[in-house]
Amino acid sequence: MALIIEMLKIVKGFPGIKANDDVTLEVEEGSIHALLGENGAGKSTLMSILFGLYQPDSGLIRIRGKDVRITDPNEANKLGIGMVHQHFKLVHNFTVTENIVLGLEPVKGVVLDMKVAEERVRALTAKYGLEVDPRSKIEDIGVGMQQRVEILKMLYRDAEILIFDEPTAVLTPQEIHELIGIMKRLVAEGKTIILITHKLKEIKAVADVCTVLRRGRLIGSVKVADTSEARMAEMMVGRQVNFSVEKEPAVPGEVLLEIDGLKVRNAKGLLGIKDLSLRLRRGEILGLCGIDGNGQTDLVYALTGLAKIEAGQVLFKGRDITRASIKHRVDMGLGHIPEDRHKHGLVLDFRMDENLVVHSYGTAPFSRWGVLDYNAIRRNAEKLIEEFDVRSGEGPATPTRSLSGGNQQKAIVAREIDRSPEVFVIAQPTRGLDVGAIEYIHKRIVEERDKGKAILLVSLELDEILDLSDRIAVIYEGEIVGEVIASETNENELGLMMAGSTRKAVRA
């Protein structure tokens, strides 16, 4: 088949870094081409060049064999290139159709003709199997549906080349499955897809060819069918990657956290957690798994003090913390890696060193008599950056917003582990991270367990739960429907419990 995209010897530098250094990408028409690399390997830069957001310092771009200069995204659209961004660009109080036609509204005289638009949208959804109600408002539909709207936006503009920027980062396993089907359907209809990702499983599932970047350089392009996941991971990270987490069997000690008959209201005012009880022991990792939206977030909020507890009680080393303030819990030794790093985890407009002391800025050595000691705060940051390998342009003074997602997460993990909490609530610790970073964070979590900490791991990634946990509790509609020993269970058993169809209890 013919090459539809040729990006030849692309070089693009930013102050202090070569984001793309002599990178070549050749994509065949009608294929799914994966672009693989660690956080900050230059994937996004390369795609931003293709989409007209950046101009390359040197190199050549050919689309359908013709030399082109893509000066801005409009130019890219004209060439049939469309992009589904990781963070959707949708107007929340507009309907699906209104969002799709935005900028290309069909008019009858001077008034909008939404009927025509709606029919075109319906035709597109039918053709590509992208089920979505054209009249729903964006705020009323889920993330998976919103992503379909983004895809429809491109199809409405007759895009032939679709760039997906880490499309599965925000999706549940079920939605990922559906997306994979949609992508295959799109290719069957003659579209070409570039998939930016660092999830090897997904590449294996959909992609034909995989191009690997590392630190701005091209490592190679391989046929996915002939290449193992381990080989691709090695190409990406530059060394052998350990997929399975190495850990000794747990040596559980006394119960540190006791949850009894917990009831918590969720954001909608309904009972998100109804009558939940759990025990968490010293020296063990308890994995909490379930399908997204079954009360995991409410449980984490209730334990850490972000949400009010309606009924029941939480005991921390025998002391009642049901009504304790967040500060009180933090001071008692409760650690929390939050699920949403931008909402809770970081003050993005703070510098990195400031973010690393958000819990402890009020105590020595970071402040005395209410006056901050910026030298101590900076030294603390230098120590953690070094120890946790947080990659940042300007060290402690780096604006947190400018760090890549993976490094932001590493900063949070560094801060929380350094506080050395006894009970550690960890939610989605590796969402959106590459295998190298995941391996590292998993290692640190196991180390904390071995130091005798009690860890509650909440994750939507079943693999992560199975790899890390000693014991697994399954949550379904705000209740624990099963507790099993990690080494004695498998994906199937957990899957059935997650869907609410079986129950099982192994009391630890």
């Binding site: 967040i326 933090v330 939050p338 909402k343 407009d349 703070f350 009020g362 006056v371």
Partner: protein, 358 residues
């Protein structure tokens, strides 16, 4: 261009563009923009570049005098803003500050110096109280502070007038003079500035700038306020008392503005005034804070700039330039600062051109 360079360059370019806009409008009205430049230079330095009149330091004194209250209202707006609150109520906080200072000066008997200090403190307390109301309503009931502060401005205007008229006005415009010595007026400062109204109000203004800088940049309290301002959820996650910080931020913001009221009452006038309408110190404060980037040093510089624009009005008028020009310049500067993104991209474009030309 780094972020830090942009932080200084944008306001500078905005100020420049503001003056150019003013100059163009003057030229359109058939007058010479040069007269504006001369008037402003004279206001700033006291020198007459045409050489027709001698150096007159009174202009310098008057321009600093004009700057003092708007630096304080600027600090008030900036302080609240650092906690993510938009304080439109500096106007009202300043008025109740004026009232409290005047009432203290007129009704309390104490040695003059002590009474001056008491008046300043009373003004701060009154402003703080006036700021606490929207702060509390925001923290407790999530009522938007913009609505509450705007309404409290009107409340302050009428409440102050009622209070003055009930408790001792001389006539329908003013109270009696404050007792002898209970004043910020200074024979010395007036002397070195050729009889300007410049007064010791400078000292509380300077202290306020220092306190603002110290609290925001150096203390754990300021760190907490900034965290709340940038990201409430993250602040709450870290165990900070978000609601308390919101109230305290408005209290302190109100105290700055209230102090501004005292500086006007004790320094500029020496009596309490009945006001027919707003004087827009609060609005000027918003402009000062915006142009000054909500930082102490920036508020000082932009406060002096806007003070100069106010003080230059009579001189410009004597040259046949309408006094409204100063207002136009001030508004265009604010407008250009608000167009920050546009200016930033213009600056980086200019820089690239320059590099390409090398």
């Amino acid at each position: 261009m780094t972020k830090n360079q942009a932080k200084f360059a944008v306001p500078l370019v905005a100020v420049l563009l503001g003056f150019i806009t003013g100059a163009i409008i003057i030229a359109l009205t058939g007058k010479s923009p040069l007269a504006m430049v001369l008037a402003m230079f004279r206001t700033l330095t006291g020198f007459d570049l045409t050489g027709r009149t001698d150096f007159n330091p009174r202009y310098i004194g008057e321009f600093i005098l004009q700057s003092m209250p708007i630096i304080l209202t600027g600090l008030s707006v900036a302080f609240a803003f650092r906690t993510g609150l938009f304080n439109i109520g500096a106007e009202g906080q300043l008025m109740v500050g004026s009232l409290a200072a005047a009432m203290t000066a007129l009704m309390v008997s104490a040695p003059p110096f002590i009474l001056v200090v008491l008046s300043l403190l009373a003004a701060m307390a009154a402003g703080a109280l006036w700021g606490a109301v929207p702060g509390f309503l925001k923290a407790r009931f999530n009522v938007h502070e913009v609505v509450v502060t705007i309404m409290l401005n009107y409340t302050a205007l009428h409440f102050c007038n009622w209070a003055f008229m009930t408790y001792g006005t001389l006539d329908s415009v003013r109270t009696a003079d404050f007792p002898a010595g209970v004043t910020l007026k200074s024979v010395f400062l007036a002397g070195i500035t050729n009889g300007s109204r410049l007064n010791w109000g400078m000292i509380p203004v300077a202290l306020s700038l220092l306190v603002f800088w110290f609290i925001i940049e150096k203390t754990t309290f300021g760190y907490g306020l900034r965290a709340v301002g940038f990201n409430k959820d993250a602040a709450r996650y870290a165990g900070m008392k978000v609601e308390r910080n919101i109230v305290l931020s408005m209290v302190i913001a109100g105290a700055f503005a209230g102090l501004g009221g005292a500086v006007i009452a004790l320094g500029t006038f020496n009596y309490g005034r009945i006001l027919p309408a707003f004087e827009f110190y609060g609005m000027d404060g918003i402009a000062v804070a915006l142009v000054g980037g909500n930082a102490a040093i920036g508020v000082l510089v932009s406060g002096l700039l806007f003070g100069m624009l106010k003080a230059a009005q009579p001189l410009m008028q004597s040259q046949g330039i309408p006094r409204e020009i100063a207002g136009i310049i001030q508004s265009s500067i604010v407008l250009f600062v608000a167009m920050r993104l546009g200016i930033e991209s213009l600056l980086s474009l200019a820089k690239r051109k320059q590099e390409a030309g090398k």
